[in-house]
């Protein structure tokens, strides 16, 4: 039997009862649309989180911080703790070939009262001040848009130079001048704890692709975006989104200085002594091969245990945990979303079973006629299951068609969520689900119809 003819007859059957058919399709439409919508929102979120993971150094970055809490068997050695020092940095540079760009970092944050960043009466709200080496540019995934990074020479001479993020510029200089031009404060001075520092470079503005588009749009329309608003959509979001916000927010609020400059000119608490014993907030590095992360960590640990005389007064922080968090969060959301979409499709499927059963009981005589003129049981089975699939697939296609609208609508009602991304994979999955639903739903009615006795069926009124 000709499949095209069967499909055509399926469409005819749907057309003959278009109202009933569209009600039946509604379940499948909802199922497919919700599946795709859910997937789009989850995908959007995943992309944002992955983006922020990459922005904070990616999986390759390892950070080592001091740990005051020694393991139990070393408790009695607490007096010996010296924390992370420059000695560790050089030791790692020379003895840990699995890592590179080992970089010391001394952090200061402006919400501690001993740090003030000012210029002409303006001051910053929040600043992450870091004294480090030029390698930090790579470690922290910073990109200089204007000017230059400070150099080893700046560090050697402890020059009063700094590289700033755009939020610092916004706070101290403003974002645009009176002509609407972006302000680039290269070679201007800012004051850190009332000491002048020359801005030699400024990073690009870090933001999500979505925000960048919005900003360009707003600039075109001569609107200004309140920086506070820019992060507002994270206010009610979960911890992963807040993490994303922190990554972008703190990168934009960074001031980088040469390590020596920070230590010698701003750190009053710094003890005298050998340069090598300078205590660091943390040290960061990158592994050469992420697949060797475990081995690299072991190597770093071995080197540090030697420089720390066997004391485990340091701890590792990798982005792996963040990455796992992302995977888990996405998995959870996807599972719950699929569960809901699955229920919709199940209800849609049951609707189809119902309508197909009532449809065949209305058409017992037709089935008898078809059998009397030579339709085999398989022909009848094929016809009924095709009708069911045509019904479900039509619903699926409509579901596909309305899901962009649904996604836009939902996104506009919930501006706090991350921007959804529709993917072809999930459209195919959604569509396949409608085919599967149709086939499963058509099974029982089709078997029932195929089994009808032609004589009984012909007598049926």
């Amino acid at each position: 039997m000709n499949l095209l003819a069967v499909i055509a007859s399926g469409f005819r059957e749907i057309g003959a009862h278009w109202f009933r058919s569209s009600l039946t399709m509604f379940g499948v439409i909802c199922g497919v649309a919700s599946l795709i919508t859910m997937a789009a929102f989850v995908k959007g979120k995943e992309n944002l989180l992955r983006e922020s993971l990459a922005e904070s150094g990616g999986l390759e970055r390892i950070t080592i911080e001091s740990e005051d809490d020694l393991p139990d068997y070393q408790k009695h050695l607490e007096d010996e703790i010296r924390g992370i020092t420059l000695k560790d940095v050089y030791a790692l540079k020379n003895n840990a070939p699995l890592v590179y760009n080992v970089t010391p970092i001394v952090k200061k944050m402006s919400f501690r009262s001993d740090l003030k960043i000012t210029r002409k009466g303006k001051s910053t709200r929040f600043t992450l001040l870091q004294g480090t080496w030029p390698e930090a540019l790579d470690i922290m995934e910073h990109e200089i848009e204007h000017g230059r990074m400070f150099t080893e020479i700046d560090d050697y001479f402890a020059n009063n130079v700094c590289v700033i993020g755009t939020e610092i510029r916004n706070a101290l200089f403003g974002e645009y001048d009176e002509n609407g031009e972006t302000i680039i404060p290269i070679n201007e001075n800012i004051f850190i704890n009332y000491k002048p520092f020359k801005v030699v470079g400024m990073f690009k503005e870090y933001m999500t692709e979505e925000d960048r588009k919005k900003k360009e749009e707003a600039k075109k329309n001569n609107e200004s975006i309140n920086p506070a608003d820019r992060w507002s959509r994270f206010r009610f979001s979960d911890s992963n989104s807040q993490r994303t916000m922190r990554v972008y927010g703190s990168k934009n609020s960074t001031v980088l200085l040469p390590l020596n400059t920070l230590v010698s000119k701003l750190d009053s608490s710094f003890e005298s002594g050998s340069e090598m014993d300078r205590s660091l907030s943390e040290l960061s590095m990158k592994v050469k091969d992420v697949s060797l992360l475990e081995k690299s960590l072991q190597q770093v640990r071995n080197v540090l245990l030697r420089t720390h005389n066997g004391l485990e007064d340091f701890e590792f922080e990798t982005q792996e945990a963040f990455s796992e968090d992302i995977t888990l969060a996405i998995y959870n959301e996807r599972t719950s979303g699929m569960f809901i979409a699955g229920i919709c499709l199940l209800v849609g499927g049951i609707g189809i079973v119902n309508i197909m059963l009532s449809s065949i009981s209305e058409r017992v005589r037709e089935i008898g006629i078809r059998k009397s003129i030579g339709a085999t049981n398989l022909d009848v089975f094929t016809q009924i299951i095709t009708e069911s699939i045509v019904l479900a697939v039509s619903g699926g296609i409509i579901g596909l068609a309305i899901s962009p609208v649904l996604i836009d609508t939902l996104a506009s009602y919930a501006p706090d969520t991350t921007p959804p991304i529709m993917t072809a994979t999930w459209m195919i999955i959604g569509f396949s689900f409608s085919v599967i639903t149709g086939s499963l739903a058509g099974l029982i009615p089709a078997i029932k119809a195929a089994k009808l006795d032609p004589i009984e069926a012909l007598r049926y009124d």
């Binding site: 000709n2 008898g368 009397s372 003129i373 030579g374 049981n377």
Partner: protein, 243 residues
Amino acid sequence: MPLLELREIHKTYHLGGETIRALDGVSLDIDSGEFISIIGPSGSGKSTLMHIIGCLDSPTSGTISLDDVMIHNASARQLASIRNKKIGFVFQFFNLLPKLTVRQNVELPMIYSGLSSKERKQRAMHALESVDMEDRSKHRPSQLSGGQQQRTAIARALVNDPKIIFADEPTGNLDTNTGEKILQMFDKLHTEGRTVMLVTHDPEIAAVTPRRIEIRDGKIANEVDPKLSGQIPRFSANSVTSK
């Protein structure tokens, strides 16, 4: 070798513990080109006989061969194929599909025999021409008179060029005049060389056929066969219906 050969056909039903012998040892030969009627009151077993010969049902015991194929123990799939290619049915209630047009109804058997849509259309129009229905091909059954519907049904029965045509009370739902025309049509098919079997309870309708078999209580009670008796009681359709 006759077209149709029935030997000792039995058919029993079990209804609520009771055994009903619908057919009780029927043996019958039908040659190609015969025009034959099966007569009998309702409940006589004539419909059961037609269903068994028409491959809609299988006998409890006995053998049937149709066109040299043993059909009494054929599978459902084989029976469907035989119904499709070798048998044409015309029913009392026309049994056209209301949602399809006249032409689509006539095309239906060819869909199951897997013909291309072009060939289906061509043959359907040809069959409709033979029953003078070609100008109604785009109508739906509900837009046709009873006679036109029955002619469509005849076209549908003819379209796969069957070995035998069964007509189950084909005039039962028609007025006398129209019924007469339908019977004339069967007569014409017979003269064209087709094998036609009328099933009816009405002896007057049966009278149009040269050979008549009367079924009573599942057995052949009486048979008029011009070949056996030598007489030729050939009635014209007119002489029967225009009383």
